[in-house]
């Protein structure tokens, strides 16, 4: 069963963001990693790249398919989770602990467009 962690915000394309001050940690939800199956590669942007809310910033590859990563917010990439380069399967082990990129938010009001855990769980149940 997929976990829906409280305290995070979620997008309809199954990314989460954990907000800490002016920064956000973005990853894929536990629901998403279940749906993908074995993750074998994570295509990540570079530090200093700009990301835009609603636009693709990378991809997660399972054995069978590639799935685009869509940024829930706009901003600048300040860190990428380099551990995923060697161990992409960390996303299967604990999707919430293993964020993919850390972003400096350029427009925090974009967070208002995202779902809380309850709303996201309901969204997944109706998917």
């Amino acid at each position: 069963m997929a976990q829906f962690m409280e305290g995070l915000l979620y997008s309809e394309s199954h990314e989460f963001i954990r907000v800490e001050g002016e920064f956000g940690y973005i990853g894929i939800s536990d629901y998403a990693q279940h749906a993908l199956g074995n993750v074998v590669y994570v295509d990540m942007p570079d530090v200093d790249d700009e990301v835009t809310a609603g636009e693709e910033f990378g991809a997660v590859e399972s054995v069978k398919a590639a799935s685009d990563l869509i940024s829930p917010v706009s901003g600048t990439v300040v860190e990428v989770n380099e551990a995923l380069e060697d161990e992409p399967e960390l996303l299967n082990k604990d999707a919430f602990a293993n964020w993919i990129i850390k972003v400096q938010l350029s427009d925090p009001s974009e967070l208002d467009n995202l779902m809380d855990a309850k709303a996201y769980e309901a969204f997944c149940e109706n998917a």
């Binding site: 074995n38 074998v40 590669y41 295509d43 693709e56 590859e61 054995v63 069978k64 590639a66």
Partner: protein, 359 residues
């Protein structure tokens, strides 16, 4: 609306991820693709391949007819011998790739791809003029199981009680109303068993209950066949891709008096083909997928990926690709466009893992 095989309810009960394939709703994976892949490489796995099509050709002209529509040469074959080959359009493009079982004198059993059943049967019927044959389409009668892996022989003998150790690679025999052959699509030793739906259901249950055979979905069937360089119709073969382009000339016997498409292949062998199928190994782990562009070092598009994976048995990202012939030589540097980035690679043999057949 997709068709269901006779094992559909069992797949759902096992919690399989079900997805449309070739006009059927088929199990893609039960647990995960990697575990199922490794089970076949190391032990034993069972696949529901009941979606495959079957056609029986009998009658006084059956052999002459098969020789006409099929690229390989079945003349003089012993009963029980199996041949891999293609049916071709006159221009050399591929109608389908298939197995032909010689079941008796002027009695052949043809196994065709699920996605091509309607097209193939129509093609066969279009070319019966002048041949005294019976064409019996049996896809709705037969279920099919593929038991694959180094332990397959022991599992088939001990769990299903069917003796098969005497069967040589690419031979078949009839046991009661079933057909069993030492064939498969995984690069491992293994057997394919054709029987009624009732037989297929009972055999599946025995295999699963024995615990000696992991249920395996089409996901790992594709990774297994890919890494030993076996083609899939729709990826490495198509109406636009001839067996010469795909490097499968050895299954096209140009010394046969005639078969549909022969003249085109003779011309292709003599004058060369514009594109060839190659293997490409990437330096990075990013995964090339079907349809991604292949570039030369100047960044010009020179081909397209047909199948690609992060190859499970050798831990490398590799693909098969159809490229302009001038770039098909081994060790040629090529690049693959994967989303926004371009990844360097090199042409290698299109077999990324050695087959382990028992011959």
């Amino acid at each position: 609306m997709e068709k269901k095989t006779c094992l559909y309810d069992r797949h759902v009960a096992l919690g399989a991820l079900m997805s449309p394939f070739g006009g059927f709703i088929m199990p893609i994976q039960y647990s995960n693709i990697t575990d199922e892949h490794n089970a076949v490489r190391q032990h034993c796995g069972v696949f529901d391949v009941s979606h495959m099509g079957e056609v029986r050709i009998t009658g006084p002209d059956a052999e002459r007819y098969v020789q006409h529509i099929f690229t390989n040469d079945v003349s003089g074959a012993p009963i029980g011998q199996i041949y891999y080959g293609m049916m071709l359009y006159p221009n050399g493009g591929t109608v389908d790739d298939l197995l032909v079982y010689k079941m008796g004198e002027n009695d052949f059993f043809l196994v065709i791809n699920a996605a091509n059943i309607d097209k193939d049967v129509a093609w066969m019927k279009e070319h019966t003029a002048g041949f005294d044959i019976n064409l019996n389409h049996q896809s709705d009668y037969y279920g099919q199981l593929a038991v694959q892996g180094p332990e397959a022989e022991a599992v088939v003998e001990e769990v299903l009680g069917i003796s098969c150790s005497e069967l040589k690679f690419y031979t078949a025999k009839v046991v009661g109303d079933i057909i069993i052959s030492r064939t498969g699509y995984t690069g491992e030793d293994g057997f394919e068993i054709y029987g009624s739906h009732e037989f297929t259901q009972k055999s599946w249950d025995k295999l699963i209950e024995s615990g000696r055979c992991k249920p395996c979905g089409l996901g790992c069937r594709d990774t297994l066949r890919f890494e030993v360089g076996l083609p899939l119709y729709g990826d490495e073969l198509s109406a636009d891709i001839s067996p010469v382009m795909a490097g499968l000339s050895m299954f096209c016997k140009l010394d046969k008096p005639e078969f549909i498409g022969k003249e085109a292949l003779v011309e292709q062998k003599a004058n060369g083909v514009p594109q060839k199928l190659v293997g490409i190994e990437l330096a990075d782990k990013a995964i090339p997928r079907h349809g991604y562009a292949v570039l030369n070092n100047d960044g010009e598009v020179v081909g397209e990926v047909t199948t690609g994976y992060h190859c499970l048995s050798v831990d490398k990202s590799v693909c098969m690709a159809l490229v302009k012939t001038e770039f098909a030589k081994l060790d040629t540097p090529l690049q693959v466009q994967i989303r926004k980035k371009v990844f360097p690679g090199v042409v290698v043999k299109k077999k990324f893992y050695d087959k382990h057949y028992k011959k």
